[in-house]
Symmetry: C2
């Protein structure tokens, strides 16, 4: 970070950095961020560091005396930045690409400064009420039912864990009070497709039903859960003594962004009295585009639904929104109020600590509210529509070139594909070839693509989700891919 002044010594022996010192370095950091946003080309998307290299540049022991901020910021630039994978870069096309937008970063700055812990309404009235309001705005933008109420969790993994705990409690088996074990209860089982995210299985592990407590259901040719197979599995399990309790449907699976047939799954849940949780962590965002609203068809019948503003709604990490048709079902699964947290407001207000596994609650709603206002509903729709268009264009280029093969449909902004040169015959050789291709592309530092396995086959991912990714980025990525493929011979 540029230094045009004499370094200030650290606060010593005064309490905190002085407001004047904060102002000086705050301006420097803002200027650094503005440059960082203006010149992504100065940074490799996937860094060139080897494991242990960053560590080796950091002293083994903490400094005994405080250090000046100039040196700390210099080390940030010299040691930390070269080892950052640049998620907030237009060339980031891996996993699910996301964005820390300008208004979102400004929101994080204010959140850090006011440092609210909104565990109780009393400890954060604005944080509590803004969370409710901002999530209701999002709900309207996605066309979800009026009755749905949202709370903010940190990640979709935790949102899904919360949903699973609520579903577990909704069995009426008194699991919150008495636990799962040693009571002669049947084993609980939940269902998701074989394409569902690992966070579903992980939620089952944490919640004590174990990996065996999650059964995966086969998918059709387009990677969508087969509702008939789901129904058969439930019947089979019930006959074998299991207690089915929950189905997790996905709108936008991680591997292929397939969309499970939620209406048919909701029918199954209704017939068998099962909790329906929808993982729309990535795909839900697309519903803010009016002509895409159909992706959430059937979700109005869900008990809970998660969508992540930090994925495709331009909000910095982390912020996951969990909607519930009956928020009291979540409260019943979690609420515990020790004496030191009783307040005069009591049950007349929402105390956010009652709605998840954590007591402490960061003021995450601020960045969401600022981002929603800055772009507006139509602004979100036009930007996401553009991402969808770019993905369709890229898919069309793949389809038009006989040396390339598309590996899955493109319902959203992710394209799965592989290079299929004439000389490479076996599937195993194709896998190895495409893995080498991925490494060659990523070695350029200009773009970063990741991979998955589709029905066992290695497939490259091109994921569009960063606000500053534009047509030029995607054209350049296509060029790099073809050049790298040619280079592999």
């Amino acid at each position: 970070l540029s230094t045009e002044h004499e370094p200030l010594p650290p606060a010593r022996p005064g309490p905190d950095m002085s407001p004047d010192e904060f102002r000086r370095y705050g301006h420097q950091v803002v200027d650094w961020i503005a440059e960082f946003l203006a010149h992504p080309e100065r940074h490799r998307v996937l860094p060139a560091v080897r494991p242990g290299e960053v560590s080796a540049a950091l002293p083994a022991s903490p400094p005994a005396e405080g250090e000046a901020m100039d040196g700390i910021l210099r080390d940030f630039e010299d040691v930390i930045v070269p080892g950052l994978t640049q998620w907030n870069h237009p060339g980031f096309l891996a996993y699910f690409a996301n964005t820390a937008s300008g208004p979102g970063i400004l929101g994080e700055m204010l959140t850090a400064a006011v440092n609210n812990n909104a565990m109780l309404w009393r400890t954060g009235p604005s944080a509590t009420e803004l969370e409710d309001r901002a999530l209701d705005w999002m709900r309207q933008m996605m066309g979800l039912p009026d009755a749905f109420r949202g709370t903010i969790q940190d990640t979709a993994s935790i949102s899904t864990l919360v949903a699973v705990c609520a579903a577990r409690e909704a069995t009426g088996l008194q699991i919150r009070d008495e636990g799962l074990g040693g009571r002669g209860l049947p084993r609980l089982r939940m269902y998701c497709s074989e394409e569902a995210h690992s966070s579903v299985e992980r939620a089952g592990i944490v919640a004590g039903i174990g990996r065996a407590g999650t059964r995966t259901i086969p998918t059709d040719a387009e990677f969508r859960m087969d509702p008939a197979a789901l129904e058969r599995a439930i019947a089979e399990d019930a006959a074998a003594g299991w207690k089915p309790f929950c189905v997790v449907a996905t709108v936008g699976t991680t591997s292929t962004t397939s969309i499970d047939p939620v209406p048919a799954i909701a029918d199954v849940c209704e017939r068998h009295g099962l909790w329906l949780h929808v993982d729309a962590a990535y795909g839900g965002a697309a519903a803010v585009v009016p002509e895409m609203r159909g992706v959430l068809e059937g979700c109005e019948r869900a008990d809970t639904l998660v969508v992540n503003p930090h994925k495709w709604l331009f909000v910095p990490m982390d912020l996951s929104a969990l909607y519930a048709r009956d928020p009291q079902a979540i409260r019943r699964a979690f609420s515990l109020v020790p004496a030191y947290l009783h307040t005069a407001e009591g049950a007349s207000v929402t105390n956010l600590m009652d709605y998840g596994p954590a007591l402490g609650k960061r003021f995450r709603a601020l960045k969401l509210w600022m981002t929603l206002r800055y772009f507006g509903a139509r602004g979100f729709a036009s930007r996401i529509r553009e991402h969808l268009r770019l993905a369709r264009d890229f898919a069309a280029w793949i389809d038009a070139d006989p040396a390339w093969e598309r590996m899955a449909p493109v319902p959203f902004s992710l394209v799965l594909y592989r290079h299929r040169p004439a000389g490479v015959a076996s599937e195993a050789a194709l896998d190895a070839h495409n893995e080498r291709l991925m490494d060659a592309v990523n070695a350029t530092g200009e773009v970063f693509v990741s991979h998955t396995r589709v029905r066992g086959r290695f497939a490259l991912r091109l994921a569009i989700g960063n606000l500053r990714t534009d047509e030029a980025t995607i054209r350049r990525a296509w060029q790099i891919l073809r050049e790298a493929a040619a280079g592999l011979g």
Copy 2:
């Protein structure tokens, strides 16, 4: 926020806010934060809003079109700020007071901008390696064993949940794979003192052992777990068919900051083969003061230990550090690697997604590293030492005044006390009197104190943990308390 220029329109139809626009509003926000830090007296600590008031000032629907940042920041000041409980205020003396220090806020700004999701080493080499290094610095500052390795979780509740899941897995009962229920396993039970934090019981609920799976152990006159009673409870439970698996000892309980006798508890755990988790979320920070290191006596024998830099180490919400003697025990409880997250580095590197319930991982280590460097080990020690001195002084004032009564020892920076006027005789009347007193004090807006129950009796808390809380703050708080008491007649 002051506006000395023509408002800029929002990004329309361009992708994100432009770097120039970010620079302009970033400087404005930094200036606002500097003023906010310079003039805490301009803000009520506990706001004067009533439930629903903030909500009512917010439109019911999201804006269709994007809005200019000027108006958004103006609403932040006019609508959000008046409803903030000011945690980052020197007069915040409630719960456990904390600090978003200057270097910590600067760290949050950079974290937001680079927006790393360090789920894998590959997706955040610097974030992964800095997390390990910064937590090792903290370990050294607290005098914990070399073998302890830390990971960052968001809150102590989640750190304790992770510890409980690791302990559950360490039973060897294959709970991660097969779950707790319907297998003829005995019911699991863990132990903590009756003064332990509600997060222990909540972790048990989430992990599926239920509230019944946590047994609370009586405490001595100084609110410390009775190890003999612990041992009797374990024996009793084992005889009754329970499977004891974990003990949670606390260094600095939430209600009274008592310190459980960890060495004796470690002996019990050793004899019975139980996992020892230490909740030092608040108290652990004191160990950075050399003459206070004894508070962690026996903790070198813990399996896991949590300490929260966002509590008393001047780091903004949220950041909880979970140390483990054998990090692989945590990994065994959580790790799941789907195809789309396989990387070439494989198991040769740390992938942070393997060490907790969440996959997504914010770059929290940066603010910790910047804060540790800015203050240095001695800087932390001198500031925490001053907080300890202020608490002792306040306790001495309480002790010296016959109209006031201290309700618990003061091992750290929290003082429990109540007003005991001559005319109020019954305990119930004293409770009501002190609750009114608390409300009167908080109504001033100058300081914010909270309460707890000590052996059933209402006690006021004075918690010192904000960097800018100084002797003048505490003297003023004492004056306000006495004036409010006099005003109640």
